[in-house]
């Protein structure tokens, strides 16, 4: 097909490439018919593009999860989408103390943005968390994707961010990207909360807040090093297969977190070491006999 209709069809086909190959083989022609019938212009709008991309990612994730029937991956992804905004809080601690300093010494001022340029991205994660808890899964997923992209760019690319050294941001960038993937591919934070329980969620929120508050106390590094990982392991029901999946998913940013806290001079190698340790942990979880078949 040539002309405007042909160009529009090609644009839609490119967007449908986000769907799994097997799904496209069955539904591409059908979906193209629906898309072209409802097309309002010569180009898909931004909302329609986002909807197709998110739809494709959701179906990809669902089909991937289906490959592990009864494995608990679906609940684990939902739990991760709930937990990531909470676990990101300590990453914003330095910035939050910067804001507090400006408020104490300069009153209400936007000056803190000069040294805390990533503030809007952290704030957007808070929005994503609230939307998730309210059950607005799609809005929360969009907020999480934008927040993760913004945080990754602002923390790693921003040349004058004086609060973080480039390699220090590894855990927060990795956690943020994991959170965005979980928010897009899972049934949402409400389902995660149903699995985790309000009490355990409350414990993790309290642990994160304590780590932030401890930034101005002596030995804060030690408190942060132990408090948060221990709270995560205990609260995430490690005796269940879903809990083990949650811990496996959090292993990559978690390892980066421990490396940075122990020795921030690990530098860029920290990313590689984190990936290797996390991959080893996931392989171990994968190969434990009966793990994938154990009842929750």
């Amino acid at each position: 097909m040539t002309g405007p209709d042909g160009a529009l069809e090609r644009r839609y086909r490119r967007l449908l490439a986000w769907y799994p190959r097997a799904y496209r083989a069955e539904h591409e022609d059908e979906m193209l018919g629906v898309l072209l019938a409802g097309a309002a212009g010569r180009r898909p709008g931004l909302g329609e593009r986002a909807d197709l991309v998110l739809g494709g990612l959701r179906i990809r994730a669902r089909h991937a999860v289906r490959a592990f029937p009864g494995s608990g991956v679906a609940d684990a992804l939902a739990a991760v989408s709930l937990l990531v905004p909470v676990l990101l809080l300590p990453g914003a601690a330095r910035g939050l103390h910067e804001v507090a300093w400006w408020l104490r010494h300069d009153g209400v001022s936007a000056n803190f943005l000069l040294t805390f340029p990533a503030a809007p991205a952290w704030a957007l994660w808070l929005v994503a968390a609230v939307l998730g808890l309210l059950g607005r899964r799609r809005a929360a997923a969009v907020a999480a994707v934008v927040a993760a992209a913004a945080l990754s760019v602002l923390l790693t690319v921003h040349p004058v961010d004086s609060l973080y050294l480039p390699w220090e941001v590894a855990p927060w960038v990795l956690l943020s990207l994991l959170g965005a993937v979980a928010a897009v591919t899972s049934a949402g934070a409400r389902r995660g909360l149903a699995w985790l329980g309000a009490l355990r969620y409350g414990v993790l929120v309290a642990a994160s807040v304590l780590v932030v508050a401890a930034q101005e106390l002596p030995y804060q590094g030690l408190a942060a090093l132990w408090l948060l990982p221990v709270a995560v392991v205990l609260a995430c029901r490690p005796a269940t297969r879903t809990g083990r999946w949650v811990l496996a998913l959090l292993a990559l940013p978690g390892t980066a977190y421990l490396i940075v806290l122990r020795d921030y001079r690990a530098g860029w190698a920290g990313y590689g070491i984190s990936a290797a340790v996390a991959a080893a942990l996931i392989c171990l979880l994968w190969t434990v006999p009966g793990l994938r078949r154990t009842a929750d």
Binding site: H27, E30, G33, V34, G56
Partner: protein
């Protein structure tokens, strides 16, 4: 374990299919009509929901037509889908009735 509640798009899609099988664009139009224009499904949302509803056994393919060289696939409710829709509608009716009764008790509605 209790069954998860249907999200609104899924509820409206099942409602749209309750009377007769429909193809994708027909479902979108019917959902907009049922919700008085409040819910307008985009294709990505629609097909993600159809994929989940098929996996859960609540809908199935009824037939396929080719119109202007383009495939049209019609979907219909399964007996499980009809039962699930009826249960969800009953639950919503119960909640709505309770809300109206309590508002009347409080004098908040006439």
């Amino acid at each position: 374990m209790t069954e998860r509640r249907l999200q609104e798009p899924s509820f409206l899609i099942l409602t749209a299919l309750a009377a007769a099988p429909l193809h994708g664009y027909g479902i979108m139009a019917e959902v907009a009509s049922i919700s008085a224009g409040r819910v307008r499904l985009r294709a990505g949302t629609l097909y993600a929901a159809l994929d989940r509803l098929r996996t859960d056994g609540l809908i199935e393919v009824d037939r396929e037509d080719v119109v202007d060289t383009r495939l049209r696939r019609f979907y219909r409710l399964t007996p499980d889908g009809a039962a699930r829709l009826a249960a969800e509608a009953e639950l919503l009716r119960g909640n709505a009735d309770a809300a109206v009764r309590r508002l009347r008790l409080a004098g908040g509605a006439t």
